[in-house]
Symmetry: D2
Subunit: 474 residues, 4 copies
């Protein structure tokens, strides 16, 4: 039986994320950290022959997962197994001096997390840019905006895009803040006191401090924690996962809404070349990628529950009941987030709107949405407010009833109103008002502009995201 693959990694995530979390990749990150510590220790005066360091560097990329597993099956200690493997390959024993397992694994996992956050950041910026293109494209496409899933007032499709875009933008700023404030645990020893490094350096606190700075600059993470135990606080994982969950919300609500629109052919997520919808039923172009994004969103909430469970549950200087959880939750949550943005970018690139179907919907509901304007007009023309209100309401209810009962297929409110002598308002005037109302979307245009301006600033700061093209999705 072949090994069972991680379906999130292999089916949905891309190479940029897989490379960070692959078993081989992790072994190499660990070895790089060991070498970085070893070099720093040598520079600070520990006797480690330069040739031996070179021996390690030479075999750094020689990763044999099977051999390491074989060792672990005997030692029952994963870090020991990896130390032995690396030392045997290099033919010497200088790594891991004054280090405890967690000095290795915590920092390596934090590099993985940090780099993954950067990957997501770059794709989220690309998603913002893609949304902005659609917001601009459809800024004058009038739609019947819905609340409670019922047509409520005119807006534009561009504004709808900008609304989801602004939600993502807020989460994007939160992501930036999470990245900026992210602290590495550093080389803190078994219980966080740096005792063993201090022993190595004969209590020279300056050297130990310099060692940690050198390691930090290797990690590429600027902040370093001071008071930690064996592990960094798990609430940091909670912050990371909840940032991912927040990031996924705008895209997920957007996809939810696109599924609603697709159900009535107002829009569709588009089809890739060669894609089989349903040959028997060509009308059936399911919003399966949108559904997937909603599924990814659900997955993230599950990982959020896991992160929540670990957080606030530490025993003393650290226990390891979190180990198996983090082995699963961290990579899987990032694979999901990666897949979500890839899928979302594909949707944004392919999606279509059907202006005529949208327009039909507008025509159906607009007379209802314009009754307050009709009322004001009647009053202006001399009908008493109470009388006008009563008559208009009567006709509106009747028009709705006619639609529901099948008596009418189209909204005939205008006819009903113009035929009522009590109202004294002509069909032409009513249609004129209706026509004006059809493109009254208030501040939507200005709001879109403001969103587009914010995205210009994102483009300046994340130029690589401008032309990012998602991988081909399944």
């Amino acid at each position: 039986m072949s090994e069972i693959p991680n379906i999130l990694a292999n089916r949905y995530a891309t190479e940029s994320m897989r490379a960070i979390w692959s078993p081989e990749g992790k072994v190499i990150l660990e070895r790089e950290l060991w070498i970085a510590v070893m070099k720093a220790q040598a520079e600070l005066g520990l006797e480690i022959p330069e040739d031996d360091i070179l021996s390690y560097e030479k075999v750094k990329n020689d990763v044999n997962i099977a051999s390491i597993m074989e060792r672990e099956r005997i030692t029952r200690h994963d870090v020991k197994a990896r130390i032995e493997e690396f030392c045997d390959l290099a033919g010497c024993e200088h790594i891991h001096k004054g280090m405890t397992s967690r000095d290795l694994t915590e920092n390596v996992e934090q590099i993985q997390i940090y780099r993954s956050l950067k990957v997501i950041q770059s794709k989220a910026a690309a998603a913002l840019i893609a949304i902005s293109l659609k917001a601009r494209e459809w800024k004058d496409l009038y739609i019947s905006a819905r609340t409670h899933n019922v047509a409520a007032q005119t807006s534009t499709m561009g504004k709808r895009m900008a609304m989801f875009g602004e939600e993502l933008l807020g989460a994007f700023f939160a992501l930036e803040s999470t990245i900026e404030s992210y602290p590495a645990r550093g080389i803190k020893g078994a219980v966080g006191t740096q005792l063993d490094q201090l022993a190595l350096f004969k209590d020279d606190t300056d050297k130990v401090s310099m060692l940690e700075q050198k390691v930090a600059s290797h990690l590429g993470i600027l902040k370093i924690s001071t008071n930690v135990g064996q592990v960094y606080p798990r609430s940091l994982d909670l912050r990371v996962i909840s940032t991912l969950a927040e990031l996924s919300s705008g895209p997920s609500s957007f996809c939810n809404t696109l599924r609603l629109m697709a159900g009535h052919e107002l829009a569709g997520e588009g089809f890739a070349k060669g894609q089989v919808g349903s040959s028997a039923m060509p009308h059936k172009m399911n919003a399966r990628s949108c559904e997937r994004v909603n599924g990814f969103n659900v997955l993230l909430k599950g990982y959020l529950t896991m992160a929540g469970s670990l957080s606030g549950n530490q025993w003393n200087e650290g226990d390891v009941s979190c180990s198996v959880v983090r082995r699963v939750m961290l990579p899987d949550a990032f694979f999901v987030a990666d897949g979500l943005f890839e899928t979302c970018l594909t949707i944004l690139n392919q999606m279509e709107v059907y202006p005529d179907v949208i327009n039909n919907e507008n025509e159906r509901y607009l007379p209802f949405l314009t009754t307050t304007t009709f009322l004001m007009e009647c009053v202006k023309e001399g009908t008493g407010r109470e009388k006008a209100h009563e008559l208009i309401k009567k006709h509106a209810v009747a028009a709705l009833q006619a639609l529901r009962s099948g008596e009418a297929r189209e909204n005939d409110l205008i006819d009903r109103l113009s035929n009522d002598d009590g109202l004294k308002i002509s069909k032409d005037r009513l249609n004129e008002l209706l026509s004006a109302a059809a493109s009254r979307a208030g501040a939507a245009g200005a709001q879109i502009e403001e969103f587009l301006n914010s995205i210009e600033e994102i483009k300046t700061r994340y130029p690589d995201s401008i032309n990012y093209s998602p991988g081909s999705i399944l």
Copy 2:
């Protein structure tokens, strides 16, 4: 870069569970279902040449995942890709007649779930039996039972085991009920009305009903749903995952408690041969397997959140936003449950208790736990109740204070009481009462017996579980 493995499957779960969920295994399950439907259709009168059925059967186990993926990359439709692959291999086109994708995938996933539940059932029975052995072994080992993590009253280690055992037993009965009531969706067509099978059989409802019975008996699931849509209700997944979460609770609380005991050397989870604890610190025999069980328990709660999110969220006859979630949640939850019972069985087989350390603890706390008995004795001997109570309390607080202040290393309450002339009770009598109290665990013995009897019944019903030996864990 090699494929990224599913760490839960490959590191923690066993072959019995991996076989059910492997990509190859799933393709074979699907092909078996197609063949079963095809045979049933032929028996019921559809013209399907026997040779063609044989052609399918011959290539059933020829699974080439890469080739299937290649097809899916073009069709963007996973089931279509697998139909084409199988038909090309067999050289004919008879499978999937009158079936919709979900007729295939829903039922196959339900076989996977059903078989997985049976695997877990068998291992949970083994865990119950293993707990019962320990409950019997330690039925007379007196411990200071704790509430609020503070010594409260004497109990026995056997009773403590039986307590966690009875929790697991309750969950085990719930699991049996989940298995018994589990209904397969059956061959219901695109929206649940069996329209296409009825069309195939010219509206012969008896035949369609017989077809479904034949398929059900192939699945091995006795119950079949009647009113479903495209999919079976996702609350059924919630029931399954919450059953797993409930099952994990007794083992997890047991492991939590063993970690607490290990921290003060009252017990330990034992060590496998060759296992490296910490060579520098031989006293450091960490309860890492127990921690892992607690971690597994956390993972299940995350999958429970996912199952909860899907449940009650269906659109119309079914939407597929659940697809990616279930692809991850279902196998991963079962891998976790499998790993949890394997780990738990290993702990139960290897764990040790340290009776002398336990006894030291009993000695330390017993005088405090016996103060009410002392009080009754004093009253019997003629001291007024209020006076006796006041004096005993005074001495108890002082003895505690002495322990906390370091003035005393051992509990000297007996001395304090016997030296107080106001109490008129001799040291010998006090020690006699103390000694009697040391082995007063109330109904613990009878309660353990009752648990052991329940487990005898489990043994009768699950004889294969009696000698089940867990695989070697990492």
Copy 3:
């Protein structure tokens, strides 16, 4: 500032549930348990004057929450405060003999849970009955059933109701199983060994056993746990809450679907008399009660996470970190479940469907849904299968395109097909086939009958639920 009310209790739940969980109600339940224990103890030989028992009974309903809180503010021990209050009222001190706080609180909370489950059971039965009425009423109302939110095949509105009904029915059976298997903790003492009752009865195990039986029959819960610690296992709470979550799923998916239907006027949840929709926009009859049911479903998933967090996390014979969680989670989850069924019953009583709008939708999509039938007819009439397939697909895509582009407002596929000389099929024949297809819902009718039969059995077993009328909801 007045006290802050529990919004779930006071705004959404009904008196039947509030009475179980009110502070006064709980105090009375506790007092009844104390009296039951006291009577049992007296009957079994403890010297408790009959007059004193009467004194307690006389003041049992004299509940002064403020006075109890005053006492707790001093003792910092809620049970002590309530003992003192009750004894002061009665003027004697006989309650709580040989009992520990948890002997009181665990059992009382279990009565509350058990009775609440029964209330929910009765309302869930009523909901099943209400669904069955609608399934029968609309068994011949043909709808365009949807998958992926896109019209897929014809079904009936009755079948759709039965689908959600059968989901609820499955959960209902799970609820019955939860109730039947629910065990009370019993009078087990501080760590579960019954030590103090045994001491009271001079180690007479028979008497202690009889005491527990008498208490159990007072509680009305038939099963009693044997091996527990200070508390009953918290996985039992998980089972209860997950049963509620499962129960809520069918109603929640039904409401989700009704919201989708309401958005296109296929159906509506109905309006109570006097209810203000939106006077300005009479068409805007929001499915606010359906939205609320979906919200209740979300709340239950939050309480499920809480229950999951407690489960498997016990320290030794019990810790009390669960206390504050259970004080909130248990009543609130039941208030939610109660409100959910009340709301759902109201919706079922008031909801409307609009057959003409449904019919319009059927007409729009039916030609697409019938293309496979057209194909078979063309083949029967002599056109080659491949040629017919190609032509039909071409026209179907064009018809869809015309609808999306606004070129056509209604589906003109029939015209396109009949005008194509290559197909040789008349408009009359096409319309005949279409008309037959319009009412082909496969086994839907028989499936509904099966559901109705199941509900007849529910009615026999839960006769009180037949005429249950929900309270007026906000």
Copy 4:
């Protein structure tokens, strides 16, 4: 039957939080918002008589919840009910002009959230300060720091406090960022386009913009969203709740650890005056407040699941399935957070450590923790490294075995080593090394100093938190 109280509000939260969320308080906040809008509208040119505004202001605090509920029971519309009540009281009808319900409720809820975050911020600052006092007080109290719940290396109690403190500090900075970036929805109308305000002001966008600025400054929230729909994005609630969950983690892990310490009398949470521990068992001073903090932490994770469920699940411009969830989740999560910090502050004020018991534990484990130092000394004195290692390990294992078997009650490793002629190391020298090791806590002191410095900065920025005293807790 009296109203059922919100137990979180009334039992655990304080007046500062209750005042924000009480029904009366909310009605007043709404009325203040209406008045603010009305005044702004008048200033910007709408004709609203000054006297009428005064009429509203005069009755602003006349809140009659029962009367409002009476109205809602008829209208089935909560906002309508409150508009009518307020207008009837004032005797005129000028409020809510051009506003939709959500213009009122969203903004008012956001004021509640924003003010609640500020309350929590102030109490979290107080908790940081209280932790810092303990970190300083115990900076030289040496403890056996534990990993995997097993003694691992010497640290100090001060460092342990600083460790949990630094976790809280990180979350505190995240809270500051959440507050700073928090945007109000503003007065955006039914679907977010400001259509109705623009209509009121005859499309004068400047006026509408000024109106919103005036309202924002009334709210006290500096940021205002631009592109929203009917509601602000629910991922903002997710951010708020996850910030609270993160904030609770340091305190919760601290309390978890204190419960572990209390179980072995290394420390205790302290007792309030008059508090009844257990009069029968004076040693039983349960860490009930710590347990409660852990329970609060669990509650927050449940609310986090609710917030997660709402986030990413929006339909179109907004649906109201979130309404009932937010009515419960938002206030309850803040009541929990409030109660958590109150409880935590009480613990920090009352907690005790028992240096002598701690010292006993150090003595027990220190010889094991010092074996590497012994090894280095032996090598320095001339014994071969391998031989020394072998002998020391042998003795260490034997010493541990003796402790576990009960043969020894105290660690006799020093004796065993000094008696071994192969090692050539005197008992005096060993004790000297041991004694030096007893106070070697590496960088702990410097790390604490760094933490204290950070808290000095917090004190400067949050001076009111320095002397904050928690309310009396139950």
